[in-house]
């Protein structure tokens, strides 16, 4: 759930807008059933990483806004470090893997399967 935390680190937000932001940032690659977001939010809340408050939106409906707590910020920082480590490692591996194939440069430049 670091994605949700990161989005809330940008500023307080509510469920629907969080999902919109995920969709927008991932270019539609990441999508999960809308409803599933809420149990996940409640879990983060229980763990004390975010806190919730009810507000009345401009349309007059009651709306639940979530805010990241200082504990959540720390957690996000941890997550970021871990993801960066994973990312760096994987990059290293990709590079190592692509070297033998990369020798005949022209062949590997367009490693498209037939029919593409």
């Amino acid at each position: 759930m670091p994605i949700v935390l990161a989005i809330l680190a940008e500023g307080d937000n509510y469920g629907y807008a969080i999902l919109e932001r995920v969709r927008q940032l991932s270019g539609g690659c990441l999508e999960w059933k809308d409803g599933m977001l809420y149990p996940a939010l409640h879990r983060l809340e229980r763990l004390g990483l975010i806190e919730a408050r009810w507000e009345v939106s401009e349309s007059g409906r009651r709306r639940k806004y979530y805010r990241i707590t200082s504990q959540g910020q720390t957690q996000l920082e941890d997550e970021r470090r871990q993801w960066e480590a994973v990312d760096a490692t994987l990059r290293g591996i990709w590079r190592a893997l692509s070297f033998p194939a990369a020798a005949p440069y022209s062949a590997s430049a367009t490693p498209q399967p037939q029919g593409a």
């Binding site: 469920g15 059933k33 409640h42 809340e45 229980r46 763990l47 639940k64 504990q71």
Partner: protein
């Protein structure tokens, strides 16, 4: 004209959806409100995209996800809302009515089995009054295996787990009956007292099934234990009333039922009631919903007040604690009680609520209990050499230290939570992680104490 008609039907549809969702026990009305806000926004966006209201509604509901899956997800997160149903829930295909009936039959058969187990030694000439020591040592071995069997059946444990549980019960039976206890000695009493506590862990493992490793699973077991205790007391009260009437009526025709009562009704009833009580806790969850937390909430402020009054009197009058043989046991019981109050308040608390006045009372209770216990320990430590290390005293001291460690760290975590430095979950995790310590200590008392102290 058209627009208003559509709007009404949309409101209708949302209403129906809301009611449908609200019937799920795992989804509370605040969650429905939150989901509804989401739904309406989605409908509005789709409407702007050109969809008609009813189409937009359908798409929005579909995007929210299947209600069953959603409800399951909510249940997983909020297991406290429906702890019993969640653990109980048999396969979805099974008719609930049929499942309930089957449960009842199995539970009653196992209750009868427990009663038969209690009476079986009588066939070999073991009398309740003459061989009281034998019955005291083996009491938990008559009752807990059928109870564990019930949950093993209910949770569909695999054969390996069942075999392991059976082996543990077997080992306990060997220890309880092979050790050459001196009749009426204190190690025999300690063994009789501690064996049920250590075997209760096995019941817990069967009860929680695959969820034993989760905080939620162990918390559910704590909740179950508290409810079972209350049910058991209620059943015992009912049984008392029943037998009192029986005695009175048969007395009127000149028949004394006391022998029958003592050798049959009481032991069989007491053994069977444990299984029946467990079944009731699981099946009749709506009759008395979570009594233990209610009692804990009621008595926490009262006990806090008593403890503060006690500490205040100590300070004011400058009196020392009278050292008496049973002082340590008395304070052990006090700590057990405070731990119970803490545990059952925790078990019912919504971890997401911010700290409130009741939490402060809870901290006061725990800290004053710790202080009172420290005073008692101090007084005893000064004279422990004078009293000598009898098995009873070592057992009481060990228990006191175990409880002291638990409560002291709980107090630290609770204060951190009050100051907003740590989440409530930390406290829950500490309590559920600590759970195996008690049965392990009890097992040490049962297995190691008799040989160490020469079976006196």
């Amino acid at each position: 004209m058209m627009a208003t008609g559509e709007a009404v039907s949309l409101e209708d549809q949302i209403d129906r959806w809301r009611n449908y969702l609200g019937r799920r026990q795992a989804i509370h009305s605040v969650d429905v409100a939150e989901l509804e806000d989401h739904l309406r926004e989605q409908i509005a966006v789709l409407g702007k995209g050109g969809l008609a209201a009813d189409e937009a509604f359908l798409v929005a509901v579909k995007r929210l996800g299947e209600i069953d899956a959603l409800s399951r997800e909510f249940a997983r997160e909020h297991s406290d809302r429906l702890w019993k149903q969640l653990v109980v829930s048999p396969s979805d295909t099974e008719e609930p009515q049929v499942g309930l009936q089957k449960d009842a039959i199995v539970a009653f058969s196992l209750a009868v089995a427990a009663a038969v187990l209690v009476k079986a030694p009588a066939l070999f000439g073991m009398q309740l009054d003459a061989d009281a020591g034998f019955y005291a040592r083996n009491l938990s071995l008559f009752v807990l295996p059928p109870l564990t069997g019930y949950f093993a059946w209910k949770r569909r444990l695999d054969l390996r787990a069942i075999g392991w549980l059976a082996a543990m019960f077997g080992a306990a039976a060997v220890v309880a009956n092979v050790y050459p206890f001196a009749p009426g000695g204190s190690t025999e009493g300690l063994s009789a007292l501690h064996l049920p506590i250590s075997l209760w862990l096995l019941v817990g493992i069967a009860y929680a099934g695959q969820r034993w490793n989760e905080i939620g699973g162990r918390m559910d077991f704590i909740r179950f234990s508290g409810e079972l205790f209350i049910y058991y007391v209620l059943i015992a009260l009912g049984g008392g009333v029943l037998t009192a009437f029986m005695a009175m009526m048969f007395q009127a025709v000149g028949i004394d039922i006391e022998p029958l009562f003592e050798s049959w009704l009481l032991p069989c009833g007491a053994a069977g009631a444990a299984v029946i009580g467990s079944w009731l806790v699981e099946a009749k969850q709506s009759v008395i919903e979570n009594m233990a937390p209610v009692l804990a909430r009621l008595f926490t402020p009262l006990f806090a007040a008593v403890l503060i009054a006690f500490l205040g009197t100590l300070l004011w009058t400058g009196r020392g604690v009278d050292i008496e043989r049973n002082l340590l046991i008395g304070f052990d019981l006090l700590l057990v009680l405070v731990l119970g109050l803490l545990l059952y308040s925790l078990s019912a608390r919504d971890p997401r609520l911010p700290p409130g006045a009741f939490d402060a009372v809870q901290v006061v209770l725990v800290i004053s209990a710790l202080l009172a216990d420290a005073v008692a320990l101090w007084a005893i430590a000064a004279r422990i050499t004078e009293f000598g290390f009898s098995p009873n005293r070592v057992a009481a001291l060990g228990l006191n230290i175990i409880l002291l460690v638990n409560l002291a760290w709980s107090a630290v975590l609770y204060i951190r939570f009050l100051k907003g430095e740590a989440s409530f979950t930390r406290l829950e995790r500490w309590q559920t992680d600590y759970l195996p310590v008690y049965p392990v200590w009890a097992a040490i008392v049962v297995v190691a104490f008799p040989p160490i102290f020469g079976f006196i």
